[in-house]
Subunit: 442 residues, 4 copies
């Protein structure tokens, strides 16, 4: 990540309105302070001592999020919209709750509309009603998984119709909670808004249970996902351990990035093989997975394999894309299940294979408390950003500081596990699998 990236944040215009939030300007008075547009956070912290002195240019610094002293929008005239898109992720309701409460209690905004079922709720054919959000209606939603607004895939590409709807509804700021496709849609919507000369802020809250968005230290819901996934791997281990040559196979989420699979393997200490999209592997041959699995069974009589859904896509074939524009993937879980079964028949080894796919149980979970804290703070900072007229930005956590990341920086390039990183090293050390299960390395 050493090439310079331009982290400058787009704004709708000058901030001329006094914030109704009363904070301090003085350090040392024990009162929280307004955050200045000049406050920044260093992105790259990974350096070599041999450089003697480490310097970064201003453009490589990320702008800190937080409440500004002056706002772009007059709170009384604000009509905020909230939309949740794509697959479920623990914490969605926590974010919706935080947005609503921050707008209502801290800025006094009284018009907050929940868009039903993703971008589709802004299309002319939508029949579902807009949901009025206020502190009462969101009070207990964080105790329930999913999204109280409903969600759907796609729709964001119909930019013109969506901006028509925003204009008709009189929305002045739209909070787009979703992943890569959603944020691309948000950027296109913001572009159309600009073309029409409208003053509508578009602020994204990155949602990616796979943890695969760039410039996002940790995506919300991720800890919850790992927590639930760990339970599933423990189940697989229990099944495998209680049977003669038991093999537990667990498919976890992770299309382009194996973060959930790898963290879960580290967390539950019971996986013997972790297969992720970032690290290619082969099934056959002396250094292939099947041979290593067989060796493991001979040594220990049981084995657990965790596979991310995007792993080994060279082995399975699939075509087309879903409504979010994501490429459809072959089902590596079922493929492995069948290949292991066939291998055991061919080799005359009796095995007991148990296949677990806990994806929907994970996605629909209620956020664990630390995810809940994170969601609250994401929501608050998104409101502060929009009120100050920031647009085309995501709220993100970088080096433990909340920052504004321009959407254009975050979309397109995935965050993945570096197979040479200390993290992956720790995973491989925990599972004791070979670093690479390929036969020919020239």
């Amino acid at each position: 990540m050493s090439e310079a990236i331009d982290f400058r944040v787009p704004v709708l215009g000058e901030c001329t309105v006094d914030s109704p939030i009363i904070l301090s300007h003085i350090l040392g008075d024990n009162l929280a302070n307004y955050v200045d547009d000049e406050a920044r956070v260093v992105y790259t912290v990974d350096v070599s001592a041999s450089e003697r002195e480490y310097c970064v240019d201003e453009s490589e610094l990320l702008q800190k999020a937080g409440p500004r002293e002056r706002l772009f929008f007059t709170p009384a005239r604000v009509h905020a919209g909230v939309v949740t898109c794509g697959g479920l992720c623990p914490g969605l309701n926590d974010v919706i709750r935080a947005l609503t409460r921050c707008l209502w209690y801290h800025y006094g905004v009284r018009s907050i509309s929940g868009i039903p079922f993703g971008y589709h709720g802004l299309l002319p054919e939508s029949t579902a009603e807009v949901i009025r959000l206020d502190p009462d209606s969101v009070d207990d939603i964080h105790k329930i998984g999913g999204t109280c607004l409903g969600s759907s895939r796609g729709g964001g590409e119909r930019t013109g119709e969506i901006v028509d709807s925003l204009e008709r509804m009189g929305i002045t700021m739209l909070f787009c909670i979703g992943g890569d496709g959603t944020q691309k849609g948000a950027l296109a919507i913001a572009g159309e808004i600009e073309r029409r000369g409208l003053q509508i802020a578009i602020v994204g809250i990155p949602k990616t249970i796979d943890n695969d968005l760039s410039f996002i230290q940790k995506s919300f819901g991720f800890e919850t996902a790992v927590s639930i996934a760990s339970g599933a791997v423990t189940s697989a281990h229990t099944e495998a351990h209680s049977a003669i040559n038991g093999v537990g196979l667990v498919k976890l989420m992770g299309r382009d990035s194996g973060f959930i699979a790898a963290h879960t393997a580290l967390a539950c200490h019971e996986a013997n093989f972790v297969l992720i999209p970032e690290v290619p592997f082969e099934l056959d041959g002396p250094n292939g997975l099947l041979r290593h699995l067989r060796d493991r069974l001979e040594r220990s009589n049981h084995a657990v394999i965790v596979v991310a859904e995007g792993a080994g896509q060279d082995l399975v074939s699939a075509e087309g894309t879903d409504a979010s524009g994501n490429r459809l993937y072959g089902d590596i879980g079922l493929y492995l299940r069948d290949r292991i079964a066939r291998y055991s028949r061919d080799e005359g080894i009796h095995i007991n294979l148990k296949y677990i796919d806990p994806s929907y149980i994970i996605r629909s979970g209620v956020a664990v408390p630390t995810d809940s804290v994170y969601c609250s703070r994401l929501g608050n900072n998104a409101v502060h950003a929009a009120m100050a007229g920031k647009t085309k930005v995501l709220i993100s956590l970088v080096n433990d500081h909340f920052v504004h990341v321009p959407i254009r920086c975050a979309v397109g390039v995935r965050n993945t596990i570096d197979p040479e990183s200390s993290f992956w090293r720790d995973v491989v050390e925990a599972t004791q699998q070979p670093f690479l299960m390929v036969n020919d390395r020239e």
Copy 2:
């Protein structure tokens, strides 16, 4: 934190032994690499854009942790000791497990001794037997709370006797898992080792459920603590909400730092007042807690107060220190309970007060999966550090990188919540309590 701190790491001597861990030197070959002593991490990331260019000196960079290509110790001659000190904290067994497995599987070390009941297990009068650690004995310990070695307070000040024991046992590296007092003890032990010209590495793993050690981004067990504490606050809320003028009062851990209390309040969304050591408050007067509580009851008929044990120590009196040398604290929980009861009698308001102190239930919990991941990685990195002859260092996580922090930097100065930080601002916004509950501010 702008004054320069010297982060240079003490070592026992030159590394001349080849590591038995086979890693790569090459970037881009998809294999994990050895970590170089020159690899560093920037500590301070919080800057102002007005500086145009942000530079730090080499001495202000933290050394990255990880496996070195050359070791100080010959694995076959290593006898490792592990000691857990002070109060319980979720994740202790995870750390013990990781240390044992990394030593055994990755370095081939076969002599690993668990010291029973803290530093006391190294004192001549100890009757408890040393516990032999190996992968079998630690296989399932992470599923159980507490520490399989036992723990105790104090003892670390008897430096001479402890080093006598280490010499007698032939221990070459000691892993000290504990908080501020433990690490001070570790530093003193390392000093005595140096005076005697011995070659014993002392590596600390910081344990502080309060999250109050400096240069530690997040202490292990903290997320688990917040998770269990959130349940207790939800109980208090349920009790308060189901009664006429119900008041739930929950005392949480946090002697010098209110991190658990503040995170819990943010996580469970149900606290109306959070009292922490960092922010003074008064009980009486028009801006005192009691008056605000009364107003809250009049508005909403119920209220929840979360108080960190170290909050309001000016209100309660106590003397002396415990065996760890920590100052004894007055019991602010019981004090508040009694003062609120008296206030309600005096004012003729009938209230239903329920007091919950979940401290032991929190401390003894099993680590949640993300804490478990963290503990594994702390343990691995501690072993890598000791094998390379680093001493008088803590393993820490800073800006999401594992680093070596000299113990002398970390002890003495507590990590606390900055009342002017965005974090505390988000807490206050969530509870809707006044920023300061004091009457006279001149």
Copy 3:
């Protein structure tokens, strides 16, 4: 239980209204059938083979609960009231939800009023508003602990004023969810209703987290209570096990009956002493608890004591009654804590005592699924009973059948653990404590 009890059920009058619920009369058509008033359940199943033939008289049989073909009330004219009294208990909201849904969906009743804060909500001075209950308002309440109606102690003795309120509101059936005091109140209210010649059905749903109501096989919330209490005992065990001479002391609910304490000890396998109200014990002397505790510490270095709040009341003194009319109890938990501490000082044994009182955390819990099933069915059967004009009855589970128990049978006599039963034998076998810890037995 060998003396004859008269289980005949009072009714308001003849049933002449056809039920809107369509069921079958025919056995074997795979359709559920109406329950006949003649359907009965044998109460006493515990007999001796030497009797050759075992016979019971009709009056000793309990009437089965369930939907009747003919009702006393015309659904369209029903106004149902629901009141929750006394301390919290897991499952209260589940019962309220079941009552509401059964009335609404199955009988078409549209007037359902939740009385706020127990019987106090029916007193003239109450300012809290009656809560309208319908399927929407109760849809998610079972996911939250406590009672959505609020609760309070006492008030039921003001019979005249309460019946005035019922008349004024036009209530035709009142569901009283509460324990012994509440049901006594319900009986008195029903008596006053009778005196005034009104036709209001009074149906009780027994709530007793202590499981101490007679003729109730298992009280709702009890399994949840044991589940949460088990976690607290595990915490005590972890603390005790991790310390030198660690003693964990847990106080659990159980004023007259030690069911929660005893079940919890059996469930978590980690208690060494269980003290319950039904079995007297002494502290001092060669066969007293303190001596046995000391022996245990000498053998095993740690010990866990579980004490029901009503145990050892001869040792602690207290006076007066609470608002429910329950005798106030001395705090045996704190008393034991202090006596053990003094004993250890006197005897010169250093111990680490950790005292845990998880009562509020237990009471406020969300019902576990099997409790939730039980609550649903209690609620349904209560509605069926009231619609058929049964009054002064409790819904109960006896020998796995839902039955009508006349309130007059159930109040007054507590259900307790028989120290000579197989259940207590299994508890004592599990803890390995002496059957009796008293010194003089002549």
Copy 4:
């Protein structure tokens, strides 16, 4: 169940050995008593008041389980074996633990052998070693799911070889933990033992996660299963509720009996259709499931279907049997998924179907505390039975009393949900599905 069943219990011979367990003979001395062979429990409690007097013959009474004053076996000469067979079920380790501890602590038995991997561990070709059981080795096993002995299907039909092994090992009592097939095997083994004139007690502990064994009020692990299944149904509901026309489909265990599916539906309140083996249903036609599903979606936009694996077996075809001799079943879950998908395409209704199969996660769970209590007591009573020379018996709970049920009574006839029972009525009322979804009823 009105025809007379002979509940008399087979014994190996006369009891002449004094029990080492010291209990009382006297009622009223607050000490637990020995249980007499004459103590009985009434089985059928469901009667009609019109009978005036209800009488049962002695042979229809079940013998009470519990410790006898005189034993058949001399404890010092006992060698006990424990075997777990068939699929996993929560609580297996709890039972193994209770058996071991009761034998060891209460009878002083020191030879306890765990048979590895079911009956296969007693076959000559088994290479797995017998596991020595003692209080240390079983101390923490109840905190882990599965069985520490391993399990497998089948093998029990090789009676001669198994009895050869028992003779060779010198086993005097074998505890067989398993379901219908296992208990049939146990009966055959006991027959062979009898033919050879050996004195080996065979005592079964019924294990059936489906709750489908006759004369077993509630099988162990069932509450845990319902608890975990409820979470899966909540996930399905969350997914369905958050999508446009979302349909959640959950397949649960239950080959011949729909207890888990039905209890789960009642517990989580979120299922709209429950399909069980006991109640036939059709997919097509005006009263078929698909039409009702469509109506539900039109009304509410989402729906949840819970299906037991044995439901609708007339719709799916399968052949053969598994190693336990159970008939193989067609996969009704996948069949429904495909049929619903096809129906939605044919009818032009866009639906979002999410299919969840949590079976392995349920089976491998750790027992909830109330299951744990039950398992402890089953284990204790099994030991008491075997020591007193009872054989060919199961330990069961009937009307809340532990009893001896002759294995011959319990095998062969399944326990199923009576579609005309109050329980199924409550389920149907909760889901609001039609009582029967078939088109032609003549």
